[in-house]
Every structure is written in structure tokens, then in C-alpha cells.
């Protein structure tokens, strides 16, 4: 039974941020593992939900200003009969505001109270969220919970010290693999963050949300170790004799396209390519699953081979066009 890919690796795969070798392994695994393929597909939808849910809380001014305006209005209304409020001492004014707030809470309509409670929950979640991602390595994580492998946790480390000086190579490998080559630079944390599966899911999603450019490995050793760990986790058995060749070609083409950029393509054409890429990916997944179920099924293998061929041809077309566009520029 193969170990499923952790969420961070999936997200990095979707972002095209994995090295070619890791990409090979992950693609191979995704083609064989329907659950992981589905999880990858669901990741973007989850992100959309995440964004929608936290948009009010993360956009600092809008809800705060609205709430403040409402509170000011309520306070002004309550204090309208009172005279000399402006001339009261500051401490008295604060006490008065506090008392007004408490009073307004007790006089909220159920709808207002629900809205206010929702806001408080959202604020609390944001606080927890930022507290988690800014917590130094080792202070929040627990041993053995690194996603994607079962290695023991690394010792706690100082965030200021270089990674290679703080942790053993094995621990570094665990950190890198579990974080999916993510770089915590996105959150202004100076060192790699080893987080639990759920935490890291938030980490990567937030990275997507911030539309960060492709992440780079912390260092060469870490990246290599991370790749090894992912490969060990996936270990997919090729269904076709020439499957590795196909996957290697696909990885090379993908790298070439990323290197050249697809900016030369018109939006319509890009959309078409992406749509067709999804079509062939789905074909690869479905036929590969069938071929794995019954290795004697030559038809399924033929379908798989045809799907791989389609993908190679499709990526070749994109790469050609990207090359033409870059040479034109």
C-alpha cells in the first residue's frame, strides 16, 4: 500500500514548484492514486473556500471600519441625551465607551449579536493562524507528526541559526519533505517551519493565496533529501515499460515551458491548453487505475500509452510556442 502524498507536496505540485525529479515521482503517484488525484483537485476548491471565509477578517480595514462606524453610531445614539461627554476626562470617556459597548451588546438584536459573534470568531481564528505560522520551529510541533513520512521529529532549534548547523541530516530531510519545499520567507520566518499536516496545509494555502513566486529550496542538501523522501513515500510501480520515459519527457517539457514562460500565448490559447491538459491528465489517471487493477489488461495499457502520448504532444506544442514567443521577445 503506497503512502499518500501530503498536502504540501500536492500543493507544490499544483503550483509547479517541484523539481523535475520530485515532479516525476509525484506525477507517477498521482496517476496511480485516485485518492491523491482527487485531493489535488480538491485543493484549489479548498483554497477558494478558505479565501472566501477569511477575506473579511484578512482585509484589515473594511470590517473594522464598518464595525467602528456602527459602534460609534450606537454610542452616539446612546449618549445623545448625555451632556458634557466631550469634556469628560479620558479615563471617564473610556469607561463610558466600555459601558456603552457592554450595554449595546445586551441590547443587540439577535441578528446583530450573531454578526458580532461571527466577527469575534473570525478575529480569533486570524490571531491563532498568525500565531501558529510565526511560532519558531520546535515550539509548536509534536514528534512523529511530520506529514508524508514517519521519521522522528527533529530537535527544537533556534530560528536564527542556519538550518544545517541545527539539525541532523535526517531531521532536515524530514523537515524539507514535509514542507513540500516550501520556504517560510513568505511569512518572514527565517528558518524552515516543520508543521503538522493541518498547519502546513494552512501554510501552503496561504502561500498560494499570497501568489508567491516559485519557491526555492532552503539549500541543495535539503532539497535533495526532500526529493528522496517524497520518492520513498510514493514508490509507484510503472504500469508501462516505457512509462518512466513518458514521465521524464513530460517533466522535461514542463520545465522547459516554465523556463520560457507561456506569456507569448494568448489567454484563449492558454485556456485551451490548460483545458486539454486537464483532459489528458484525467485520461491518464483513469486508464492507469484500470491498468493497475488488471496488469494483464492490454487495452488499458494502450489507453494509458495513448494518453501519455497525447500529453507529450500537447506539452510539445506549448513548449514550441513558448520558445517562439521567447525568441520573438
Amino acid at each position: 500500500m503506497e503512502t499518500c502524498l501530503d498536502e504540501g507536496t500536492l500543493q507544490a505540485y499544483l503550483d509547479g514548484e517541484l523539481s523535475p525529479e520530485t515532479l516525476n515521482n509525484v506525477a507517477l503517484h498521482l496517476a496511480a492514486c485516485a485518492a491523491c488525484a482527487q485531493a489535488a483537485h480538491a485543493a484549489e476548491q479548498e483554497l477558494a473556500h478558505f479565501n472566501a471565509a477569511f477575506a473579511p477578517a484578512l482585509s484589515a480595514n473594511v470590517p473594522t471600519a464598518k464595525l467602528r462606524a456602527r459602534l460609534d453610531e450606537a454610542i452616539a445614539g446612546m449618549n445623545a441625551p448625555q451632556r458634557g461627554f466631550a469634556t469628560m476626562p479620558a479615563a471617564s470617556r473610556l469607561r463610558s465607551i466600555y459601558a456603552s459597548l457592554v450595554a449595546s451588546l445586551t441590547t443587540f438584536t439577535p441578528r446583530q449579536a450573531t454578526a458580532f459573534a461571527s466577527f469575534l470568531v473570525a478575529v480569533a481564528l486570524v490571531v491563532v493562524f498568525f500565531a501558529l505560522i510565526q511560532t519558531p520551529d520546535g515550539q509548536k510541533t509534536t514528534g512523529g507528526e511530520v506529514a508524508g513520512n514517519n521519521q522522528p521529529s527533529a530537535p527544537a532549534s533556534s530560528p536564527a541559526a542556519p538550518v544545517a548547523n541545527r539539525e541532523t541530516p535526517d531531521a532536515i530531510a524530514a523537515v524539507t519533505a514535509s514542507s513540500g519545499d516550501t520556504k517560510d520567507k513568505e511569512f518572514d520566518s527565517p528558518a524552515p517551519v516543520r508543521v503538522r499536516r493541518d498547519d502546513r496545509a494552512m501554510f501552503v494555502k496561504a502561500g498560494l493565496n499570497n501568489r508567491q513566486p516559485a519557491r526555492t529550496p532552503v539549500d541543495g542538501g535539503n532539497a535533495e533529501a526532500g526529493n528522496t523522501t517524497v520518492a520513498a513515500a510514493a514508490k509507484p510501480e510503472p504500469v508501462l515499460e516505457d512509462e518512466k520515459t513518458y514521465i521524464s519527457s513530460i517533466a522535461s517539457l514542463t520545465s522547459a515551458i516554465e523556463a520560457q514562460g507561456a506569456s507569448g500565448l494568448t489567454p484563449t490559447l492558454r485556456a485551451e491548453y490548460e483545458r486539454n491538459l486537464a483532459v489528458v491528465n484525467q485520461a491518464i489517471i483513469s486508464s492507469r487505475v484500470a491498468a493497475r487493477r488488471n496488469p494483464q489488461d492490454t487495452d488499458a495499457k494502450e489507453f494509458l500509452r495513448a494518453a501519455y502520448q497525447n500529453k507529450v504532444e500537447l506539452l510539445s506544442a506549448v513548449a514550441d510556442q513558448a520558445q517562439i514567443a521567447s525568441s520573438r521577445d
Binding site: R275, V279, Q282, A283, N310, A317
Partner: protein
């Protein structure tokens, strides 16, 4: 005198119309600008020829053109020369791409077009051009590469066309056709010889394609574009699509081999009621096989080439596979190999 003046006015007014009279007049006046470019004046707001060049060529000349933009129209004529015209380029050059020198006719010509008079020619690279009209000998081989513009080729012997998003239309091609487009429709009509048509996401339509060559093959492939084929005379027809429909309509050639594969799209064959064929159809994962033709069970027949001709016969229905024969089912019967991972296979009678 006045007739000549009228002819000239008509020529200037609609040089790019495809009407027979206008075309005939253009042909009758062709050759005036041989070996040199010329400019003409716009009359009455109609498009006009802004650049033109003509070059003597072998009947079997190979013509190369690559355009960043603009449409390309290629027509065959009975002259042994190539004429290139544009209605918005400032300069056209028919450059010899072989070892021949004047006065010998060229065997290989590259068409270079420039929008700006000062723009240097870029042999081997695509021209930043507008529309281009080419008249070539009937035996010519035409190789056109376009980007967003459409490509239309008619009457030549061989054609290879490639576009990114422009449509490709091929008519009366005599010997062989190759067309590839990422996002453009490919239409091929009234032609003969081998054909290889591929697109990623647009439609492929082929109608009335004959052949005198027994070895000529017809091949069509798309990822997500529909494939509609009718009246093909090839003994080897193959079409495949990842997730779009494949339709074939027409009689089957005796002894012909028809291979249609789709991952998730349907495959529909509309055949004459008296068709005779051996059938090997399979839906792998889901989908169904629907046939208007009675399929008889026959003993297993192993072909000499199992890759192209998988065994026919044995169990009529087994594991999503339907094999058997309809009609006489003798050696002259065609062989249909239909395969889909999750689409429907439909054999229906022609009305």
C-alpha cells in the same frame, strides 16, 4: 481599348475575390510584374495589391511560407511559375532556396514578406506580414506555417500546413495532405491521397477523400475536438480522440481496415444497410455498444498482424467486447476496430 480599361478596373477593385471571372482576368494579366515587386493604387476603398512578385518554377516546385499573421490563400494554376501577392505588405520576395540560378526554373522557393519596406528579409524565420495570395503549379508541394491567420490551399499536389489558431482548409489536394492546428478547425474536401490531420481542440472535418494508391492512409487525431469523416476511399482509416466524438459516414472499402479509438468520447459509424464487415468493438470502463446491424458469432480468426487486426470471433459478447461479423463477412469484408475507454460505440444504418 475600353475593354482593357474595364478589365484593369475590375482587377484593381477586387484582386482578392475568388470569383472565376476575376481570377481568370488576374491570370490573364499575370506575369506583368515578373521578377520584381510592384505597387498599385487603391480605387474606391477596395483592397488592392500592394506587393507582388513572380518567379519561374518547376512543376513540382516546393514552396515554403511562414507568416506571423494574416491569411494565406494558395491556388494552383497551369503556369510553371509562382506568383505571390499581398494586399498589405510593402514587399514580397520569392527567394530561391535551392542551388538553381536564373534562368533555370526554381525547384524550391521561400516566400518572404515584409510589412515595412525597410524591414530586412528574414530567411528561415516567419514573416511579420499581412494577407498573402499564392498561385503555384499544380504539381507543387506547399508548406505553410501560420499563427493566427487562416490557411486555404486548393489544387496542389502536396500540402503541409500548420497553424496555431487559424483554420486550415484543404481542397482538391492530389497526393498527400498533412495539417496540424492547435486551436483551428481543419477541413479537407474533394481530395485524394494520404492524409494526416491533427488538432488539439478544434474540429476535424474530412469529406469525399479518394485515393488511387492502395497504400494511402487516412489519419485523424484530436485531443478534444470532434472528428467528422465521410466518404473516405482509403483502405486504412484511423481516427482517435481523447474526449470528443468521432463520426464516420459512408460506405466501407472492401478489405479496408478502420480503427477508431476514443477515451471518453462516443464513436458513431453510419454505414449503408448492406455493409459487410468484421467487428471488434470494445468499451473498456463504461459506456455501451449500440448496433443496428445484426452481428453473428464466428469462430476465432487470428490475423497475421494482431496489432492492427486483433482476433475477430469467438464469444460474441465478453467483458465489454463485441466481436463478430455482419453481411457476408468474407475476406472482402472490411474490418472495424472500435475502442473506447468510457464512451459509447454506435453502429447505425444509413437512412
Amino acid at each position: 481599348m475600353s475593354a482593357v480599361a474595364v478589365c484593369l478596373l475590375l482587377l484593381l477593385a477586387c484582386p482578392f475575390t475568388s470569383g472565376t471571372a476575376a481570377h481568370a482576368m488576374r491570370e490573364s494579366l499575370a506575369g506583368e510584374g515578373r521578377g520584381s515587386s510592384r505597387n498599385e493604387v487603391t480605387r474606391g476603398g477596395s483592397p488592392t495589391v500592394t506587393a507582388e512578385q513572380t518567379l519561374a518554377a518547376e512543376e513540382t516546385v516546393t514552396l515554403l511560407a511562414c507568416l506571423e499573421s494574416g491569411d494565406v490563400v494558395v491556388r494552383a494554376w497551369d503556369r510553371k511559375e509562382v506568383r505571390a501577392r499581398s494586399n498589405d505588405a510593402s514587399r514580397i520576395e520569392l527567394r530561391r532556396a535551392d542551388a538553381t540560378v536564373e534562368p533555370n526554373p526554381a525547384t524550391r522557393i521561400e516566400v518572404l514578406v515584409a510589412k515595412d519596406e525597410t524591414e530586412p528579409a528574414r530567411p528561415g524565420l516567419c514573416s511579420n506580414s499581412g494577407n498573402l495570395e499564392l498561385d503555384v503549379p499544380r504539381g507543387a508541394t506547399v508548406q505553410i506555417k501560420g499563427n493566427t491567420g487562416d490557411v486555404s490551399v486548393a489544387g496542389v499536389a502536396n500540402v503541409r500546413a500548420k497553424t496555431l489558431s487559424g483554420d486550415i482548409e484543404l481542397q482538391r489536394i492530389a497526393k498527400s495532405s498533412e495539417a496540424w492546428s492547435a486551436n483551428g478547425t481543419i477541413v479537407m474536401r474533394n481530395s485524394s491521397g494520404s492524409a494526416r490531420l491533427e488538432t488539439i481542440s478544434s474540429e476535424i472535418v474530412a469529406n469525399d477523400i479518394g485515393t488511387d494508391d492502395a497504400s494511402a492512409e487516412f489519419f485523424a487525431k484530436s485531443v478534444s475536438g470532434e472528428i467528422s469523416l465521410s466518404k473516405l476511399a482509403h483502405t486504412h482509416v484511423e481516427a482517435s480522440s481523447s474526449n470528443s466524438a468521432i463520426d464516420y459516414e459512408g460506405a466501407l472499402v472492401e478489405g479496408g481496415l478502420y480503427t477508431f479509438k476514443s477515451h471518453s468520447g462516443s464513436i458513431t459509424l453510419t454505414l449503408p444497410a448492406d455493409s459487410s464487415f468484421q467487428l471488434n468493438a470494445k468499451v473498456h470502463h463504461s459506456g455501451e455498444i449500440v448496433t443496428d446491424f445484426p452481428i453473428r458469432q464466428v469462430p476465432v480468426q487470428v490475423s497475421e498482424d494482431p496489432r492492427n487486426n486483433p482476433p475477430v470471433g469467438g464469444a460474441l459478447l465478453e467483458d465489454g467486447r463485441l466481436t463478430g461479423v455482419t453481411g457476408k463477412g468474407d475476406k472482402r469484408a472490411a474490418t472495424l476496430i472500435l475502442s473506447s475507454f468510457s464512451g459509447t460505440l454506435h453502429l447505425q444504418r444509413q437512412q
